[in-house]
């Protein structure tokens, strides 16, 4: 390999993008060529300084550090929740064969278990929402959150105004459809769960039934239709997230 060929390969080499054979050839050339070796070192040196500068030193880096600190608490809580869900999931699966009647309900609980990617995504999402503390209290931002469902964000806005704050969020799955599950909490009050999703399919039918229950004041459910024809749903109710969801859907499961 001559210098011209080596220089062409130098950046992929430094970036560890070459296959073993090509990497070996470049390596061999560098061992014998001080000029190309210095160039490779130069690339590495500038890269290292760029990484250092962008990752947390100096004035710009301080902003990154401050943001990380705001995210840390939210993330710890999310990790704890994810771990708990996985443990519950193992127990639930063991008991799956025990009662045929319970299959659907158990399926719901399993559906709430996030996969690794979903859990990761959810953790970031929660952190992101909490990153800006004004989000929850800011009706404009909440309106944006539900923009596609014009006019139906009133419930979330009223929650924020009445002192509820976003406590956690996670992705969950119901009947193979994904929902963003947000839990709002206020001191001395029951937490409220809100599920946000789209393309409800068969689940929409069940939620219509829940709307009837809503008239009894047991649940607060709003089903929405956005202009594109996709369903959005906000479900709010008292109790733990799993209880709210199971109770909300249960009336239709037995039919």
């Amino acid at each position: 390999m001559d210098c011209r060929e080596a220089r062409k390969q130098l950046m992929p080499f430094v970036d560890d993008e070459l296959d073993a054979a090509a990497s070996y050839e470049v390596d061999r050339h560098l061992a014998a060529c001080p000029g190309c070796r210095a160039e490779a070192e130069s690339i590495r040196s500038y890269d290292a300084r760029l990484r250092g500068a962008c990752r947390g030193e100096g004035a710009q880096g301080a902003a990154c550090q401050a943001m990380r600190a705001r995210l840390a608490a939210a993330l710890d809580a999310e990790i704890a929740r994810s771990t708990r869900r996985r443990s519950v999931g193992r127990l639930v699966r063991r008991g799956l064969a025990a009662a045929a009647v319970a299959v659907v309900a158990v399926g719901l609980v399993i559906g709430l278990l996030p996969g690794p990617a979903a859990a990761d995504f959810a953790a970031d999402h929660v952190a992101c929402i909490q990153m800006r503390s004004s989000w929850v209290a800011d009706p404009a931002m909440l309106a944006e959150l539900c923009k596609a469902a014009a006019g139906a964000h009133a419930r979330v806005v009223s929650l924020a105004r009445s002192g509820y704050a976003l406590r956690s969020g996670a992705m969950c799955e119901i009947d193979g459809r994904r929902f963003l599950h947000l839990v709002y909490a206020a001191p001395g009050r029951e937490p409220v769960s809100i599920f946000v999703g789209r393309r409800l399919g068969g689940l929409a039918g069940r939620l219509r039934a829940v709307e009837r229950r809503d008239k009894d004041g047991q649940f607060d459910v709003v089903r929405l239709r956005c202009p594109a024809g996709n369903d959005y749903v906000l479900v709010a109710g008292a109790g733990s997230p799993a209880e709210v969801l199971a109770d909300a859907v249960k009336p239709q499961i037995g039919r």
């Binding site: 962008c54 990761d120 999402h125």
Partner: protein
């Protein structure tokens, strides 16, 4: 445990936009879109790459909205022959602020690739997927971006003695 995606997205957005408030907005908009289109997310894809693909759109859309005077020069004008290269640079003498300032001078398309490859250490194929460009384009932008960055940084360490490169823009 860290928040790898948020940190990486924020960092990239910060150095693309140059302003913390814009970066925070971009990251939040990215997540907002991500959950809106979650049903279209293919589980076999890398969520990090997917999020960066969304961030890229968010950043460039915002930049287009802000931009009043488009830059006219073409990519071809920013060739390696126009920038310093070849010699080891005194990178260790540079202050972080100078480096951050220098990266702001890169054309957006170069800057994004340099940030993803060098700072976020993403693989070429991941960058190609996130930015929806061929791997060859990733490599050429990275090459030119690194060379141009080195040129700008030399201005700090060598009293700006060399002639400036031609106006760099993205075709």
């Amino acid at each position: 445990m860290t928040t790898p995606h948020v940190d990486a997205l924020y960092r990239t957005a910060l150095h693309m936009s140059g302003r913390p408030e814009r970066a925070e907005d971009a990251v939040q908009e990215t997540y907002l879109r991500a959950w809106r289109y979650l049903d279209t997310f293919d589980e076999t894809r890398n969520p990090r790459v997917w999020l960066f693909a969304i961030l890229r759109n968010v950043i460039f859309e915002a930049a287009r909205r802000r931009r009043r005077e488009p830059v006219a020069a073409s990519l071809d004008e920013v060739g390696p022959e126009n920038v310093a290269g070849g010699r080891p640079g005194p990178a260790d003498r540079l202050a972080d602020a100078e480096i951050v300032e220098a990266i702001q001078k890169l054309p957006e398309e170069f800057r994004m690739v340099v940030l993803l490859a060098v700072v976020e250490e993403m693989k070429y194929r991941e960058i190609a997927e996130a930015l929806d460009i061929p791997i060859g384009t990733v490599m050429s932008r990275l090459y030119r971006g690194r060379q141009l960055l080195r040129y700008h940084l030399r201005a700090y360490t060598e009293d700006g003695g060399e002639a400036p490169p031609p106006r760099a823009g993205v075709a």
